[in-house]
């Protein structure tokens, strides 16, 4: 699976296709567009953690909508990455309650350790992209970082930060999603 250059005509895996079929049945038949966000999430997980224009076109095709209907959604919601990302996207909560418990310091520390910059491209080793996000609804366990579907909480000690990073560094496949037998290889490491 390539990630930094999406294939010209990407295709969903059979497992993802089956999952998309299941999801589309949750809405009235003439309202297939309702599956937009769940299908974009599947697309991002399938194609290396971001949704290239070709991937968004595929989503449009699958949902039977115009490509512009996908673009206007993918650019509105902050979870969809529109540029290539590192193997792991660290989404650091920066909102008030996390800031009160040290998220600014955490961000600086993660920039220092990984060499990546918030809002910039992946780190030189391709492992990490740093992204600041707004409130993750985990304020009582601040500061917080989300990586894919996992929350890393109370990252206010060197030990907790190191534990998170070493877990991610040794991860060869991303965790499997419920409809997959096994997680896909972590994209960039596979290049």
């Amino acid at each position: 699976m390539e990630s930094t250059t999406a294939p010209v005509k990407p295709q969903f895996s059979e497992a993802a296709k089956a999952e998309i079929d299941r999801i589309c049945k949750q809405y009235p038949e003439e309202r297939r567009k309702s599956a937009m966000l769940p299908v974009l999430h599947i697309a991002q997980a399938e194609f290396g953690g971001w949704v290239a224009p070709e991937v968004q076109d595929l989503v449009a095709e699958v949902l039977g909508v115009k490509p512009i209907e996908v673009y206007e959604v993918s650019t509105f919601y902050t979870m969809f990455n529109l540029k290539p990302v590192g193997k792991h996207v660290l989404e650091i909560c920066r909102t008030g309650p996390c800031q009160l418990r040290g998220s600014d310091e955490l961000t600086l520390e993660l920039e220092r350790i990984t060499g990546a910059k918030v809002g910039g491209g992946p780190s030189a080793d391709g492992l990490f992209t740093l992204k600041e996000v707004e409130c993750l609804a985990a304020c009582g366990f601040a500061p917080v970082v989300q990586v894919r579907e996992k929350y890393y909480e109370q990252l206010d000690t060197e030990a907790s930060v190191n534990a998170m990073l070493s877990e991610l560094r040794t991860m060869v496949h991303r965790p499997a999603l419920p409809w997959e037998e096994k997680g896909l290889p972590n994209a960039i490491a596979n290049n």
Binding site: F76, M79, T95, A137, C139
Partner: protein, 446 residues
């Protein structure tokens, strides 16, 4: 110790499975409702309970239900708002991940009351792992005959689905949520028509917060009158409070409405006081959009009465000396906190989250962020403080949805109660912007 109506069994091993949840009395409200009550009787109990919307607005749930239009032959929907995104609020995430069946039970009983045969839980996209937990629990409920066709032989059918968002605070606004559920950008709709008449797919729809729905089983089981006995006045029942910031024991607390704020902050039963032995400076009591209050006004009202954790007591004094219970996102700040920095942080949040439809919000939130950034970084001038207050005032009431107010209120309140600290940033920028700087008190301005 107050009664726990929602979270009594939250720490029971395996309570996230159907079997254990059922063993602890789970799904009784579904049995009672579909077998022995008419839908209207369920609505009546919720009305009697005095339950108020737990997402933040505090609108009576039973009343909201009674507004639902019921044209013959037109499907209607119940949509659960699980887009928990209000800074300071993290109760629904905990409730859903630990007690998924409580929400599902509430959804079934509530859907029956409203005559909905398809219902959705709209959960924020960041919580995909909770969506997996809910979907697993829903599958168990189907297998046990509590969802699907002819539930418990009653003739009532219900399908329940979970739908993820994509990362947008605005989708917590109910009409933005419905747009999002239809696969579009989360732009709030003009009202009227209200969702009760034209909601999801232009059909009659009720949108309720997770915690509101989760309170329905106990109301149906014990009766609305019993529920209403808990609490004070029009603040009935229990409320989940998300306690965070500079507290010794941040976390989720289910309180009987009416606990004194002072007890909630300092007692070991709840937050255990302020961390590091420091003094309390200020509290944002109901999620980032409600007015911040300094210590003396959060503990006691302007009239000197003990402030209670109720809708009425927290709003005593209006916005001059009071605030709101809101979502129950309780953010405590210690004496070293920079109020200007915190206000800037919240303004950055609202600017980032404005959907951009209404110019007062789209532009105004940007100005708020910009001016606060300048003040916090030592480049402000005396006029900035008044300009801030004026921009906030001009956003208020001039937008389609309440995000405008949510962005304006924190700024207005910070200036109202902490103007000296803003002036300190203007007059002594070098001191105020030093790392770790703490406002020394208004004597410094004399």
């Amino acid at each position: 110790m107050g009664r726990k109506l929602l979270t009594e069994h939250i720490n029971v091993e395996g309570i996230d499975t159907f079997e254990v949840y059922r063993k602890h009395g789970g799904y009784r409200s579904v049995e009672k409702a579909v077998k022995t009550m008419t839908p209207d009787e369920v609505v009546e109990e919720v009305k009697k309970s005095g339950l108020r919307g737990r997402g933040g607005a505090g609108f009576p749930t039973g009343l909201k239900w009674s507004f639902l239009a019921k044209p013959e032959g037109v499907p209607r929907y119940l949509v659960c708002n699980a887009d928990e995104s209000e800074p300071g609020t993290f109760k629904d995430r905990q409730l859903m991940s630990k007690l998924p069946h409580l929400l599902i039970e509430g959804m079934i009983t509530s859907s029956y009351a409203l005559g909905a045969n398809t219902s959705y839980i709209y959960i924020r996209g960041e919580l995909l792992y909770v969506l997996r937990i809910l979907e697993k629990a829903i599958a168990e409920a189907y297998a046990a005959g509590f969802l699907g066709k002819n539930i418990l032989g009653s003739g009532y059918d219900l399908d329940l689905y979970v739908h993820p968002g994509g990362g947008a605070y605005i989708c917590g606004e109910e009409t933005a949520l419905l747009e999002s559920l239809e696969g579009k950008r989360g732009n709030p709709r003009n009202k009227p028509p209200f969702p009760a008449v034209q909601g999801l797919y232009a059909r009659p729809t009720v949108v309720n917060n997770v915690e509101s729905i989760a309170a329905v089983p106990v109301i149906v089981n014990d009766g609305g009158d019993e529920y209403a006995k808990i609490g004070v006045g029009k603040s009935t029942g229990t409320k989940l409070i998300s306690a965070c910031g500079h507290l010794n024991k941040p976390g989720i607390y289910e309180i009987e409405l009416g606990v004194p704020v002072e007890e909630f902050i300092y007692s070991d039963e709840y937050c255990g006081g302020i961390w590091k032995g420091r003094d309390l400076k200020a509290v944002v009591a109901g999620g980032s959009s409600v007015p911040i209050l300094p210590k003396e006004l959060i503990l006691k009202t302007a009239a000197g009465e003990n402030r209670l954790m109720t809708y009425e007591s927290l709003s005593d004094g209006g916005f001059v000396t009071g605030t709101m219970l809101g979502s129950g996102g309780f953010i405590a700040m210690d004496e070293t906190t920079c109020i200007v920095r915190n206000t800037w942080n919240f303004s950055r949040f609202y600017h980032h989250e404005s959907c951009g439809q209404c110019s007062p919000c789209r532009e105004g939130t940007g100005w708020l962020e910009k001016i606060l950034h300048r003040l916090e970084h030592g480049h402000g001038n005396e006029r900035d403080i008044d300009v801030l207050a004026s921009v906030a005032k001009q956003i208020e009431g001039n937008t389609i949805c309440p995000l405008g107010e949510a962005a304006a209120w924190p700024v207005s309140a910070a200036i109202r109660h902490f103007r000296d600290e803003f002036e300190w940033h203007v007059r002594y920028p070098q001191e105020a912007t030093r790392p770790g700087a703490v406002f020394p008190g208004k004597a410094v301005l004399a």
